[in-house]
Amino acid sequence: MRKLILTKILQSLFTLWVILTMLFFLFRLGLPDPTVALVSDGLSPEDRALVIARFGLDRSLPEQYVIYLGNVITGEFGRSFHYNAPVDTIIGERVLNTLILMLPAIFLSYTIGPLLGVLLAWKRGSKLEAGGISLGLILRSAPMFWTGMLAVMFFGINLGWFPTSGMRTFPYQAANFLEKILTLDFLRHLILPTIVITLYYIGLPMLIMRNTMLEVMGEDFIEFAEARGLSRMRVMYRHAARNALLPVVTQAAITAGLAVGGQVVVEVVFSWPGLGLEMFNAVRTSDYPLAQASFLLMATIILVLNLITDLIYSRLDPRVTYRSAN
């Protein structure tokens, strides 16, 4: 088990390194003048010299690469052109803002979704099942930014039930992140985007769960459980569902990756001050250091989430552990 975890961590680190390298070459070679990627026109000569020295922009490419790796490890991403401040201090809290919006939504999708999937398999052949499948597909086909726009328009503007932008109503005071989110005002801001994200992602685990359930339900141990006189409910949710979870968990890992990207549009629509919105603004203002760091952090979030789902997977499926042990 420990060895498996170690292997997974090493694999993730390797992936991260590849992405780092890719970004380095994209930004150094993709731009006509690589210094523009790090040095803003508006910087004072002292700051300019500082950045050039710190990133070795006057040295050869391999040397720059080594310096770049060292900088990333120590969290040195340069100065944002737009904010004229170190990038790491800007995006530090943005990461938390992004996670606090994304994780509850994914959690909801991957708890409610599979439960509904079991229900669909249970009611096989009924109108409920047919309707559920169609609804699942329809929810998946409506792009999140659009449902977000509709939600803002209808529930935010028309009915006035929920605030439509940001995390808190201004002006507010909060000494730290926890103080910021442990309020009713924050919850009110969280509801609309969470519902929008959840509705989009809920369809897939529901449909996957239904399909796997149908396979599992044909197996002997289910018949055995039924023969023991267990209630249908108990058989479905305790015996069958447990064994049908694996493909859902696999999908959860993939969804984590999609969600980090999809997060961008939700943050843009709801003006949520997360990494995605920051990256969006950085691209509009050609703020290269900020965009680069945001991208890297998003990739890191995906890798960490994938690592976690991998570990959950190995807990759920003992075969994975055996295989790695052998």
Partner: protein
């Protein structure tokens, strides 16, 4: 291949949702192909509307000179306005405009009168119990017994203006020196010869059988009851309007702010504070008002013209008034922005007055084209990677699957943003981002299928027979993964449509090319999306319909690609 299509058709026929999907996709494809014929407007054209307006001004003793705009009197340009004849108690003002439009002002009420013509009406007169309107195609209308009737016209060209003298004799003038005379109500119109063939723009008859006609390039003609004689004008500019309050108080106005005055003996030029084309003038005792294009107005008080800033950029064409106030009428071509769905614009308009229906229709092409190209790219890369990894295994498999893992760690939208940051927004960026990143799923799925196929006897047999690896992969294995590849093509297409919309929504798409995502991007940029539902709903519904149709069809494909599903 033929068999595959036949199987697919059978499968679709058995599935009502798949049938719905197929029909919808067919319709959407047809829309994409025949887009330019279906679209009702040019999607980039800023649609304008014209509306007749009146601007009240020059009110004696009122703050800000009593400027007050009265909108939407008509849906066409108002071209001329006169004080209605007081003896008939027929209201305050009478105005005419394009489309044969005739309106009577009575206090705050506006009565639109039935008109027998639909041509442009350019001039109107109301005096001595007689009311006349003239316009294009030699149209002369006279109000007889409370009803407008078309009179037999002696000319066929454009008639610009008409005036009545205190006894009810009328003179009408028009283009190319056209002029005609009618002595009394219902009396026939007789052609009056003019010494010049220039365009005549306006006429005034302050006294019986006496008045002036003005026209192009400083044309000034004096009317003596039977003929028109040329007078010496103080300049050579076009004179567009003339008005009088008695024979020794006449003002004529024209292009570049020109003002000429007649004091009973001779014409002289007056200083004017306006440089635009003056189109209308009204004289009342010592006071006078003139109106120009682009919203310029001026008032004559104590012998000096004073510019009045209306604050409205409208083209004025005529002025009327009484002792207390003046009114200018004109046209107001304005951008038809953010209108709700109507017969003219099925899905309404954007903040720039662009037709949303046409944008959605054109957007269909972009969406389908991008999605198709990207999906084919994804399927080709993914299937080949899957074939190599699954068949060759070992190191190749390891390396390829590591790459797939890396691909899974790259978020699509931010990746596309990086590409745009380093280059510029465009259709190729979207195709590239989707194509480069999303083959990962296809590769994984094809690989696992190939892994199981590679152990089948027919593959082993081919190997024994000495077939090369490439031959086995492409000749023996590939046909067997084809149904699955097609399924992945459908899934990739659904994903690509959403991805294209999402990336365009973020402004990463080509700015001059409409796609469903671009429309929503512009709605967001304009800020109008929070209320303009007609701008947000249609493109989103199209995305949803297209994607869900592909999903429905792919369900039917799934049954073929994965026969296990069919049995259940």
């Amino acid at each position: 291949m033929k068999e595959l299509i036949r199987a697919l058709w059978r499968s679709i026929q058995q599935d009502r949702l798949a049938m719905f999907g197929l029909v919808t996709i067919t319709i959407i494809t047809l829309i994409a192909i025949f887009g330019p014929f279906i679209a009702t407007h040019d999607p980039t054209h800023m649609n304008e509307r014209t509306e007749g307006i009146a601007l009240w001004f020059g009110t004696v003793g009122a703050p800000n000179r009593g400027i007050r705009l009265e909108q939407a009197i008509s849906e066409t340009t108002l071209r001329s306005i006169v004080s209605a004849d007081a003896t008939q108690d027929s209201g305050d003002y009478l105005a005419v405009g394009n489309g044969g439009f005739i309106v009577r002002f009575r206090g705050d009420e506006r009565h639109i009168e039935a008109s027998p013509v639909s041509v442009q009406l350019r001039g109107v007169a109301s005096r001595a119990g007689r009311e006349l309107a003239v316009g294009d195609e030699g149209t002369i209308l006279e109000r007889i017994g409370g009803e407008w009737r078309q009179m037999a016209a002696p000319v066929s060209g454009i008639l610009q203006a008409v005036a009545l003298d205190p006894n009810g004799a009328a003179l009408v003038v028009g283009d190319n020196g056209a002029a005609a005379y009618s002595s009394a109500i219902g009396a026939p119109w007789v052609i009056v010869n003019t010494p010049l063939a220039r365009h005549l723009y306006d006429v005034t008859l302050p006294e019986a059988q006496a008045g002036f006609v003005v026209g192009a390039r400083g044309t000034l003609l004096r009317w003596d009851g039977s003929e028109l004689n040329e007078e010496q004008a103080p300049g050579f500019r076009n004179i567009y309007a003339v008005d009088s309050d008695g024979m020794n108080n006449i003002l004529a106005v024209g292009e570049r702010g020109t003002v000429y005055r007649f004091d009973g003996d001779s014409w002289s030029e007056m200083q004017s504070p306006v440089a635009r084309s003056l189109r209308g003038v009204k004289v009342i005792g010592d006071r006078a008002a003139a109106a120009a294009t682009h919203g310029d107005l001026m008032l004559l008080e104590d012998g000096v013209w004073d510019r009045v800033r209306s604050g409205y950029e409208r083209h004025f064409r005529s002025v009327a008034g009484d002792e207390t106030q003046f009114v200018a009428v004109g046209t107001d071509p304005y951008i038809n922005s953010l209108t709700r769905p109507s017969a003219e614009h099925f899905f309404g308009t954007t903040h720039n007055g662009r037709d949303i229906f046409s944008q959605v229709i054109y957007g269909t092409r972009t969406a389908l084209l991008v999605a198709l190209v990207a999906a084919i790219m994804v399927t080709v890369i993914g299937t080949n990677v899957g074939l190599f990894a699954g068949y060759l295994r070992g190191k190749t498999d390891n390396v390829l699957m590591r790459i797939v893992d890396i691909m899974y760690a790259l978020p699509l939208e931010p990746f596309a943003m990086v590409l745009v940051l380093l280059t510029r927004p465009g259709i190729q960026i979207i195709i590239l981002a989707v194509g480069l990143l999303t083959w990962r799923t296809t590769a994984r799925i094809i690989r696992s299928q190939v892994l199981s196929l590679a152990n089948r006897p027919f593959v082993k047999a081919a190997k024994v027979a000495g077939a090369s690896n490439l031959r086995i992969m492409y000749v023996h294995i590939a046909p067997n993964v084809l149904p699955l590849a097609f399924l992945q093509l459908a899934v990739a297409m659904a994903f690509a449509i959403t991805a294209e919309a999402t990336l365009s929504f973020l402004g990463l798409g080509p700015p001059r090319l409409y796609s469903w995502g671009t429309i929503l991007h512009q709605a967001r940029l304009s800020g109008a999306w929070r209320t303009a539902w007609w701008w947000v709903l249609p493109p989103g519904i199209m995305i949803m319909l297209t994607v869900v149709s592909v999903f429905f069809i792919s369900r039917a494909l799934e049954v073929i690609a994965n026969p296990r599903l069919a049995r259940k």
